[in-house]
């Protein structure tokens, strides 16, 4: 394999910043003296931009995906009781899953929810 091929194989990750320090130095050194690989660098940068634009332009998933995942993972909420405030509180809730109605209790601390207990069996209730 020629030195230029070796360098051109690394150029995509040189642009992305995904090389080791030694690889990065080797690519930079080679680029400073090789017109062909500098051209490849420019082409690769153009390609990267074009590919990103193509992927981003494609429509994303539908809103239904979120609902389907939520139903399978979290179940349908049946009831929830909140006591306390945003800073310190307690929640007790029940949801409807395919084969059970798990009950769970959470401690709410500074806006973060910490699960205290749940009667759901992970993977078994979905």
């Amino acid at each position: 394999m020629s030195r230029c091929t070796e360098i051109q194989e690394l150029i995509p990750w040189y642009i992305e910043g995904g090389l080791s320090r030694e690889e990065e130095r080797a690519v930079a050194e080679h680029l400073s003296g090789c017109d062909r690989c500098r051209d490849d660098l420019v082409t690769t940068m153009q390609l990267r931009l074009a590919v990103r634009a193509v992927v981003e332009k494609a429509p994303g998933p539908s809103g239904r995906l979120r609902d389907r995942v939520a139903r399978r993972v979290l179940g349908r909420r049946l009831a929830r009781l909140d006591v306390g405030s945003f800073y310190l509180g307690f929640s007790l809730g029940a949801s409807l899953r395919r084969r059970s109605i798990p009950i769970h209790g959470d401690l709410n601390l500074m806006g973060r929810r910490i699960r205290l207990f749940s009667t759901a069996r992970r993977g078994g209730d979905e």
Partner: protein, 168 residues
């Protein structure tokens, strides 16, 4: 803002809020990755759905040896390829093109690159996606695809050549 690792630890403890955040960070990316492999919107949604459910169920199995994104894309890939095998048996056809034709001259290059992407093999297309869209290193991609790092570099080299022809 919680890191991906912190979120996955919380998800392993059954934290639904953490799962919602992880979903927001990854569902769209997983969908686009699956789309790159499968070329079908419904199939890509199926993969995204099953991947996110697998993340919820299997968060406690995440060993922390790789980045969370590498782990999740690995799950997505397995889901996508098991669907591909199913599709080959039932001969379902991909439903829409990646980009609909657009008459604006400013995006002429994108159209050409889009067509060139369509023309690449599945193996080459996913390396291009993981490098240029996800910005993963060749080592991380090798770990997701379970192939040697040299193969990742060589696939990218050849894919790049094919795509570059579209820019001429």
């Amino acid at each position: 803002m919680a890191s991906d690792r912190e979120l996955i630890t919380d998800v392993a403890n059954g934290d639904e809020m953490a799962f919602r955040q992880l979903y927001d960070r990854f569902a769209d990316r997983v969908y686009r990755y699956a789309y790159t492999i499968l070329r079908g919107k419904h199939l890509a949604e199926e993969v995204a759905q099953e991947t996110m459910i697998a993340v919820w169920k299997g968060a406690s199995k995440y060993a922390g040896r790789s980045k969370v994104s590498t782990w999740i894309f690995g799950i997505a890939r397995n889901q996508a390829y098991s669907l591909v095998r199913k599709e080959i048996r039932t001969e379902r056809v991909p439903d829409v093109a990646l980009v609909e034709p657009d008459p604006a001259p400013g995006i002429h290059r994108q159209e050409k690159v889009s067509r060139a992407l369509e023309g690449l093999s599945q193996d080459h297309r996913e390396v291009v996606f993981l490098t240029f869209y996800e910005g993963l290193s060749y080592g991380e991609i090798a770990s997701i695809l379970d192939i040697p790092a040299g193969t990742v570099k060589s696939r990218m080299f050849h894919a790049k050549k094919r795509l570059a022809e579209a820019l001429v």
